[in-house]
């Protein structure tokens, strides 16, 4: 059984490595005949990071940035391969799979960089001066305002569990979440949820009973909720949801009131020595100007509640900022991951 599981993960790893040959999207920012060029690899959608990139390029004439968008597991695989070969293919990597970046730093794949901007970061958002958290994005629940009556809208995970409890619940088969086998981010959110043991167990049980759907990709899930295919989606990245909610007023967003995970995308400079231009880009993203640019596309997001709540002290206290540090290594452990996936699959296979 265990052996079978190993070969499964091994196969998954191999297949993803094979598939990882290409980025999902590539765009080059800056002049056509650049004097200098750096490569940025990220899991973030081009459109979401574009305002910040352009703001940076305004300060750097003659610089072009090759922007590669990758799936989080693929990005980890290629970064790991780069590190092993000692030839980094990128100058700056920004990933939402923060556990992967922490693992890469732990494997001595990252260059050290110290600047006023990096040292101004809170302790939880930097480790070894080799990895830094550049964004603040809550993990939220979204729902369809048109189809979910206000009294049903879950404020907490307990509300969601209660909603799914009745045998004839209208939400049976209508709740979606990330397929954590495919999404590094989905895995991380689920994994961190699992450390809040009681809630997670109850939630999984509720998901299993109500036939919740685990599927791929933020865009797909958000579209599904907006279009009414799903009524509620759990653990969706708030930045994407907020972007979508601009165009679709039917999309409601809830930051769970019991606790809200807040992701800070991890950036690191691959290789032994930092590329100075890439380091400048990093410093810019951490600077007030950069943070404003990120806020435009909700990468820096005051936790939004349905009905437009604000950052009260209470909500801030319930935010669980995902700290970049050694404990995230547990989320990359093969056996732990395999067992977690196995449990997850058992639930969603029912």
């Amino acid at each position: 059984m265990i052996r079978a599981l190993f070969s499964l993960t091994l196969w998954l790893g191999l297949s993803s490595a094979v598939a990882a040959a290409e980025p999902e999207a590539v765009r080059t920012f800056g002049p056509d005949q650049p004097a200098r060029q750096i490569t940025l690899r990220t899991t973030t959608d081009v459109n979401i990071l574009a305002p910040a990139i352009e703001a940076f390029l305004d300060t750097q004439p003659g610089l072009a940035i090759r922007f590669e968008q990758w799936g989080s597991n693929d990005l980890y695989d290629i970064s790991e391969a780069d590190c092993a070969s000692g030839k980094p293919g990128a100058d700056l990597v920004i990933s939402s799979g923060v556990q992967h970046v922490v693992k890469l730093v732990n494997d001595n794949c990252a260059a050290t960089w110290v600047s006023p901007e990096t040292t101004a970061l809170p302790k939880d958002l930097r480790w070894r001066d080799q990895v830094w958290g550049i964004s603040r994005e809550p993990a939220v629940m979204i729902y369809n305002r048109a189809l979910v009556p206000p009294e049903d809208v879950p404020r907490t995970r307990f509300d969601l569990v209660d909603l799914l409890r009745p045998a004839q619940s209208p939400y049976t088969g209508k709740v979606a979440t990330y397929d954590i086998a495919d999404s590094g981010l989905g895995f991380l959110f689920a994994f961190l949820d699992s450390q809040e043991a009681s809630t997670f167990g109850a939630l999984m049980e509720a998901f299993a009973r109500s036939g919740a759907v685990a599927t791929c990709c933020s865009a797909e899930i958000i579209d599904g909720v907006a279009g009414g295919r799903y009524l509620i989606a759990y653990n969706i990245l708030g930045s994407y949801a907020a972007q979508a909610a601009r165009d679709n007023p039917d999309l409601g967003i809830i930051a769970p009131a019991d606790y809200t995970l807040v992701l800070s995308r991890a950036a690191y400079l691959p290789g032994r020595e930092p590329n100075p231009t890439a380091a400048k880009l990093l410093d810019f993203l951490l600077s007030p100007a950069g943070q404003r640019a990120l806020a435009k596309t909700k990468l820096i997001d005051p936790i939004t509640r349905d009905g437009g709540g604000s950052d009260s002290d209470e909500t801030l206290a319930l935010q669980r900022l995902i700290a970049l540090g050694p404990p995230l290594l547990v989320a990359t452990d093969t056996m732990k991951t395999a067992r977690f996936l196995e449990r997850w699959r058992d639930i969603f296979a029912q």
């Binding site: 265990i2 732990n106 001595n108 050694p326």
Partner: protein, 470 residues
């Protein structure tokens, strides 16, 4: 030396100041001590840091080992986050871990971590590298003996050394900071102390330079014991100077005094002789003049000898002298033949050495004077001798006569005995001779002893016997 001021010795400039020496010495001491302490502090800091962080490793490894369970006949690790949170107390260090089952099959974690050299113990700490950095590792073994699975599972946890190094350095820095403050304070105190300790010297130098050049009285100053040694030496030196001055003064005045009368007598007699027509009477006067001249020359000899003796008492080195040699030399020189022609002298010396620590020349002068006295005033036969008696060395002269009168004896040892009508001529020279002998005896720690018996009168310079040369 005429004005009593010591001329500055050219060619000898003052050497480095004591303050500079002390400061240099102390600084050197503190630098060497500081280096040793720094090394010691760093060694201690490293040991302390190692102990502290080794505990984290032990805790984390045990945490992981405890999370191993047997499922379906195989060990399964449920990696605890708490282990990594524990290790994250060393905030900037990378973490290596591995769990391996029987036959070294890696269950989870890093594939190829270094292993300890020995495999004897269940728990072992060791140093090795982790991906390009030095690291500290622990290996913990957990044994399972269950129905489904029997064997050992190994947990290896490692961590890089940044936090340890930082802790060790901060311990060292703190220790050195304290040391530096202490050192500077010590140096400052040392300078102050040296200054205050040397102040008596400055005061002393000031007083000496303020002195009247003729003032050779001892310096009286309250000074520390160490400096007092110097003051005593200076006082001794000045005392010698003073005595020599006094000696010279008294010699000059004595000489003037002593010579005036005989020279005046000679002059008067020569006047008489010039006016005397009677050859017989003139011969008589010339004979008187001759004996007067002999006495005068003897007086001069004695005064010179006395000056010599007194001078040497302060200046001559004391050497081991055999008194028999002195007696023998005097006997063989035969100076007495001119003083008392035809007199008989005997020598009587011991068979063994008669050693003393003294100046040979002074003793010889003293003995000659005693011999001269015996020849002039005593009765033949006159004997000179040297021997040991009752542990004391004696250099003696004996004649067959009764010796000087008690009245004269009582006055012996004075410089001379002027103005005594009866002894005016005789006593002057003999008194001077005795005075010389006495002062020589006293200079070398002895006495001048006189004894009369049936055989005659004996006068002896009695000195402590020199110790045997070992």
């Amino acid at each position: 030396m005429s004005d009593g001021a010591l001329p500055r010795e050219t060619g000898l400039s003052a050497t480095r100041s004591l303050t500079a020496r002390l400061v240099t010495g102390l600084s050197g001491l503190m630098i060497v001590g500081g280096l040793i302490l720094a090394l010691a502090a760093f060694a201690y800091g490293r040991a302390a840091a190692r102990d502290a962080f080794d505990r984290l490793l032990v805790g984390a490894a045990n945490d992981i080992a405890a999370s191993i369970s047997i499922r379906d006949g195989a060990p399964v690790v449920d990696l605890p986050v708490s282990a990594f949170e524990l290790l994250a107390l060393a905030p900037d260090d990378r973490i290596a871990y591995q769990v391996s089952g029987p036959k070294g099959a890696v269950l989870t974690g890093y594939e190829d971590l270094p292993r300890p050299d020995t495999t004897a113990q269940d728990s072992e700490l060791y140093d090795a590298r982790f991906k390009g950095e030095p690291a500290r590792y622990i290996r913990v073994t957990r044994r399972f003996a269950e129905r489904q699975f029997s064997g050992t599972v190994e947990v290896i946890v490692g961590q890089t050394l940044r936090a340890r190094t930082q802790l060790a350095l901060s311990i060292t820095r703190n220790a050195l900071g304290g040391l530096a403050v202490g050192g500077i304070a010590m140096l400052a105190f040392a300078i102050i102390i040296v200054h205050s300790a040397l102040r008596p010297l400055e005061r002393l130098a000031h007083r000496i330079s303020e002195r009247d050049p003729q003032d050779l009285t001892p310096i009286r100053a309250a000074v520390p014991r160490e400096v007092d040694v110097m003051v005593q030496a200076t006082n001794g030196f000045m005392g010698r100077l003073d005595r020599q001055f006094a000696t010279m003064k008294s010699l000059i005045s004595d000489t003037a005094h002593q010579l005036r009368t005989p020279v005046a007598a000679l002059r008067a007699q020569s006047d008489l002789a010039a006016e005397e027509d009677d050859p017989a009477r003139r011969d008589q006067i010339v004979a008187k003049m001759h004996s007067g001249t002999v006495r005068l020359s003897r007086l001069l000899d004695q005064m010179l000898s006395r000056a010599l003796v007194i001078h040497r008492a302060d200046s001559a080195r004391r050497e081991r002298v055999d008194l028999r040699n002195i007696a023998l030399d005097i006997f063989e020189e035969g100076d007495h033949a001119t003083l008392a022609p035809g007199s008989e002298i005997r020598l009587e010396i011991a068979e063994t050495e008669v050693p003393v620590l003294a100046d040979e020349l002074s003793l010889s002068e003293a003995a000659k004077n005693l011999l001269g006295n015996a020849l002039s005033h005593g009765e033949a036969p006159v004997t000179i001798g040297a021997n040991l008696r009752d542990g004391r060395a004696r250099l003696w002269v004996r004649d067959a006569g009764p010796g000087p009168t008690p009245e004269l004896r009582a006055r012996l040892g004075e410089r001379f005995a002027p103005g005594h009508s009866d002894t005016r001529r005789r006593g002057a020279s003999s008194g001077l001779g005795l005075a010389i002998a006495q002062s020589v005896a006293e200079t070398y720690g002895g006495t001048l002893e006189m004894e009369s018996d049936a055989a005659g009168f004996t006068i002896a310079i009695t000195l402590p016997q020199a110790e045997e040369i070992t």
